[in-house]
Symmetry: C3
């Protein structure tokens, strides 16, 4: 029996890149189930990939092999790694794309730097390590190989970190970032209940949201259904972070905000 592979990348679905990685896994591990987390990570956006990956972990099989390929440094000296964390294994470039997931799984227990000579079933290209290195490594780990069979042990303390802007919290005020906009126009923020608490806004029934323009008042509610049509609200989203939403409309359009924009939440008292 094989462990399932959960596959995330920034390859998109317009080309055959994702399909080729699936083909590689089917070739090397015909019984292995592959679940696509998403391949819509913005191109080369390591932080967005890390955020999407950590979101899926609580809901996935415990023994999953995570294959995460967002790899702006392909062809450079950046190393590929395989990491054991809890009962799961993670495979990808050592550029921080795995960092949040490793934290979410309780921290790295063991890690290896992938040895392409041992892993790649064919000559390694300079541009497509998803096909040549990462998918083959994931296939072997899913079907029972030990970490040491795909690389050399490395110090888990040296694994790549993810650098994301920390939210700036003052009494009555949180400055943070739009870390994502979904297709409904909901704005996912880089702050959560902990920041609300620290800012003394945990019990606020409304918050002033300021992006590029004037501040707009949004109601602090439990869910969309508590808002009237077109009303702005602040909710905890499905990942437990703050999100600005608009009932049956797009909060992103209303506020003119996109991923990466700064947002300030303030009390209205």
């Amino acid at each position: 029996v094989s462990r399932p592979i959960l596959f995330l990348s920034d390859y998109g679905l317009a080309d055959e890149y994702v399909g080729i990685c699936h083909a590689v896994i089917a070739r090397l591990a015909p019984e292995t189930r592959v679940i696509d987390v998403t391949h819509g990570v913005p191109a080369q956006d390591v932080a967005a990939g890390a955020l999407a990956l950590v979101t899926v972990i609580p809901y996935a099989p415990d023994d999953a092999v995570y294959l995460a390929v967002v790899d702006p440094g392909v062809g450079t000296e950046r190393r590929g790694v395989a990491v054991q964390a809890g009962p799961a294994v993670l495979v990808g470039p050592d550029n921080g794309v795995l960092a949040l997931a490793i934290l979410g799984l309780g921290g790295a227990r063991r890690a290896v730097a992938l040895d392409t000579d041992r892993v790649a079933p064919w000559a390694v290209s300079g541009t497509f390590h998803g096909r040549d290195v990462f998918a083959p490594a994931a296939a072997r780990l899913a079907t029972g190989a030990d970490l040491e069979e795909v690389g050399e042990a490395i110090d888990v303390g040296g694994l790549g970190d993810l650098l994301v802007g920390e939210p700036l919290v003052e009494p009555g005020r949180i400055a943070t970032t739009v870390v994502g906009v979904d297709r409904f126009g909901n704005l996912r923020l880089g702050a959560g209940p902990a920041e609300l608490q620290k800012a003394g806004l945990a019990d606020a029934t409304s918050l002033a949201i300021r992006g590029w323009g004037d501040a707009i008042i949004a109601r602090r509610v439990g869910t969309f259904g508590d808002l009237t049509r077109g009303e702005l609200g602040v909710v905890l989203d499905s990942a437990g972070m703050l999100a600005v939403v608009c009932n049956l409309e797009s909060a992103a359009e209303r506020l003119g905000l996109r991923r990466g924009d700064r947002v300030v939440l303030a009390g209205t008292g």
Copy 2:
């Protein structure tokens, strides 16, 4: 053995929502096969979701579990349901997204209102019932649970209906709606052979199509191949409904029509 799950939603593939639902099913029902019908249903468009879902039914395994999540009312009092219809089971919000499929399967035999306490393996969020309620319910029903294990029996007569504009038929004239435009620019209409018959146009060899501008004559043909390059035609599409097509070009561009626009078909005699 498990029944297959056929999964349709308006989540899109840019984010990890669909991947998380797949992960949930893999966690709760590792052997269950999941087939993606489409996740490109326009956001919160219940009617478009219902139309896409009913189209797949004749071609799917008879004992399929349909998981259909187009859910503008998530977080409100709208209930989730599981419905038995023929040998199939359908799971989703009770807002009409299942209505056409239930009809297509010969009508509802039994139904339950999903009981989140029984179904959800974790705390239920206000915003992502696909992950917390519907996918877990589908996973349990696919692996042998009876309807009553996921909710309380309800009257099948009270299930949500889908309200779509009926085509208006007069002698020699059908007023209907563009219910969809595919990527080739073919216009799917909300009328079929029955309306042609009622309008006395069943034997017409050409029809006048009027959208926003002047009427254009289209030939009534069996298939694309009967048209010259760039010629407009009216065919029965693969779902058995009327469609306006243009050989090797886009009928939508030619007529300046989009989904939701009104169209009048009239005789040319």
Copy 3:
């Protein structure tokens, strides 16, 4: 046991077309694994489909059944075929979409013209042979049917060819075409190492690239990592063809080039 099906089309993922073909295979061959190569082939672009398909072959299971549906002639007299090439089988319209893959597999050994009466489990529509003919044929071939069970033997010499513009090679100069642009903005060209050799440019350390505007110098490098940020380069891509790339930026934007545009590579000596 079943052979895996590798499925490629120009259906896109916005509609339910791909999902219906998956449903058909699940209905006819419940144990068969289906791998999506890509469904993002530009609509009705047979050459782009052929190029995507041949790229996956070296990495896929040897005994795969390839299902390739890019079919501008659906509903006309064009025939559907199933072809044995090496240990693989290919199914699709006989319009050249299979031609490069057949070559890549060492040439056709046997072929049949699909007989819709034998293959289709239901009445054949004029517009959706993926559902009615090709997916059912692939399902039967994956689960052990012989070619003759789905059609009549035909001469492999009469199979449809793919007509692509050949690159024009002169001493010091290659005129070719942008055959694809991926989402990172890399330009895949219709020329490779053989053309470099013929033009006497195999050892050139830089090349002048001319598209619509003035020529721009690009360095001939092994991989992205050999370029400084924003520098243009020419590499061999993962399919072994020449590609113009730009480190961490889009070469397509930089050069103003799209798929189908002509490009001239010349020596800079």
